[in-house]
């Protein structure tokens, strides 16, 4: 893999509400000696909102991002946010398989797209491009039995089947990363269940119920933390645990860490470099778990 052809598409939330995700990605890339490059002049992917209002704009937003990446010599576009990934990989698939559609969109914009960009989920990137062997080489403080529930949410794996990098209903790629870091993963039932996404803002009673189910199951398995790779999942699971625990039988406050934050912990990076301050349920507690203390 030519390192010059790899770039990150951060997406809007990684610049504000989930900047701790971007910060931990940068830190982890530094350790792994992967040059950190962002696609320039990217725009919002449209999330699940634009498609509900304007389907043409929805596709055009992704078309523009892909065309920009191509023009900038990017061939591997690594996407951390599950929602951005879902949009971009969906557009990649649609445009590569529908010549007429591609031609129509190319005619509308002065940025034509030729179909040379591969959109990659960040989990796919870590497991299949960077490699688990490479990752484990940099582990300084193994997670020594830290019990982790890997939560993928919906959109990481529910892409068109031809584009899937993992099993759609019971994925394992994040679990493999945690194992490479020395952590212990659990089998659980809510790996790919929905966190409610934007219902968190619109009808939060629904979202709280969904989050309650996820946290309850993780708690019952006695995990030390939940690992995620999606900013929306992280926000929904982390932000309102106080009120959710009053309504649903969630055992105890559960830290919700980005997978890159856990990688950073294992690589011996400082909490400040991993943006721990932005987590609502303090992540520091994962250092205090018995297993890590004894190491």
């Amino acid at each position: 893999m030519n390192k010059d052809e790899i770039a990150i598409y951060p997406g809007c939330s990684l610049e504000t509400s989930s900047s701790h995700y971007l910060q931990s990605i940068k830190t982890v890339f530094g350790v792994l000696q992967i040059p950190f490059r962002e696609i320039a002049d990217w725009n919002c992917c449209g999330a699940t909102s634009v498609k509900s209002v304007d389907q043409h704009l929805n596709l055009m937003l992704s078309h523009k991002n892909l065309a920009l990446a191509e023009k900038q010599g990017i061939r591997e576009l690594v996407v951390p946010c599950a929602s951005c990934y879902f949009r971009l990989v969906g557009a990649e698939y649609e445009l590569n398989n529908d010549e007429k559609l591609l031609e129509k969109l190319n005619n509308e914009s002065d940025l034509p797209y030729k179909g040379q960009v591969k959109v990659r989920n960040i989990l796919d990137f870590f497991v299949n491009v960077v490699g688990l062997d490479h990752i484990s080489k940099y582990v300084k403080n193994p997670l020594n039995g830290l019990k982790v529930a890997c939560y993928y949410g919906c959109l990481n794996t529910r892409v068109p089947i031809e584009k899937a990098f993992d099993t759609r209903e019971y994925p394992m790629s994040m679990d493999e990363i945690v194992k490479a870091l020395g952590g212990e993963v659990v089998d659980w039932s809510y790996k790919t269940d929905c966190c409610g996404a934007s219902l968190f803002v619109t009808v939060n009673t629904i979202a709280e119920k969904l989050v309650g189910k996820v946290l309850k199951d993780a708690g019952l398995r006695g995990v030390d933390c939940v690992a995620v790779s999606c900013p929306m999942c992280q926000t929904n699971l982390d932000t309102k645990q106080d009120s959710i625990r009053k309504k649903y039988p969630v055992e105890y406050p559960l830290p919700v860490a980005f997978i890159t934050q856990l990688m950073g912990v294992a690589f011996g990076c400082s909490p400040a470099d991993l943006g721990f301050k932005k987590n609502f349920v303090p992540l520091g507690s994962i250092y205090k778990t018995r297993s890590l203390k004894n190491s």
Binding site: C44, L111, K278
Partner: protein, 174 residues
């Protein structure tokens, strides 16, 4: 009077939904089904029969969180959330008032915000959504918490270079 575009959408909808044999897996696996007034598999059935008018009177397409749990389970590979999306679009194109206006308004606020700069300004969306909804204190407990953690920013992101020109370029010309 229906546009050729709408005619095409309708035909595609009928042919895709006609693959459904009503196994009900989509409804059984839907995480938000309890909140819907009509089951997803019934929406698919009505659509395949050309009775989308009935669907427009339901909340189901608006409640759908677009998580694709149903699509993964569907034995006939029907992308049900995509059908829900098209049904919402059709209703809007016909000028019907969305059955869940509160949810529609969020998506509209979000989309309008993207059109300003090419990126979303989360803080503004939260405020503007509440105003459009006429519920200024919705999620009010969350705002200060998010601001304290520096998770919401007062100032908008920098506009994407050339975005507004691009928008003009791609907008349909009448």
């Amino acid at each position: 009077m229906e546009t050729p575009e709408l005619e095409k959408t309708k035909k595609e909808l009928y042919s895709e939904t006609s693959l459904c044999y009503q196994c009900g897996k989509c409804s059984a696996g839907c995480p938000v089904v309890e909140e819907m007034d009509v089951y997803p598999h019934i929406v698919i059935h009505l659509t395949s029969l050309g009775m989308e008018e009935k669907v427009f009177k339901t909340e189901t397409p608006w409640i759908c969180a677009s998580c694709y749990a149903c699509a993964v389970k569907c034995p006939n590979d029907i992308e049900i959330p995509n059908i829900m999306t098209r049904l919402k679009q059709m209703a809007l194109e016909r000028g019907l008032k969305p059955k869940r206006n509160d949810i529609y308004k969020f998506h509209k606020t979000f989309t309008d915000d993207i059109l300003r700069r090419g990126k979303v300004h989360e803080f503004r969306i939260m405020i503007e959504y509440n105003l459009r909804l006429g519920k200024p204190f919705k999620n009010a407990m969350l705002g200060p918490k998010m601001l304290m953690k520096n998770k919401l920013h007062f100032t908008p992101p920098k506009a994407v270079k050339g975005f507004r020109n691009w928008i003009k370029q791609i907008s349909p010309k009448d």
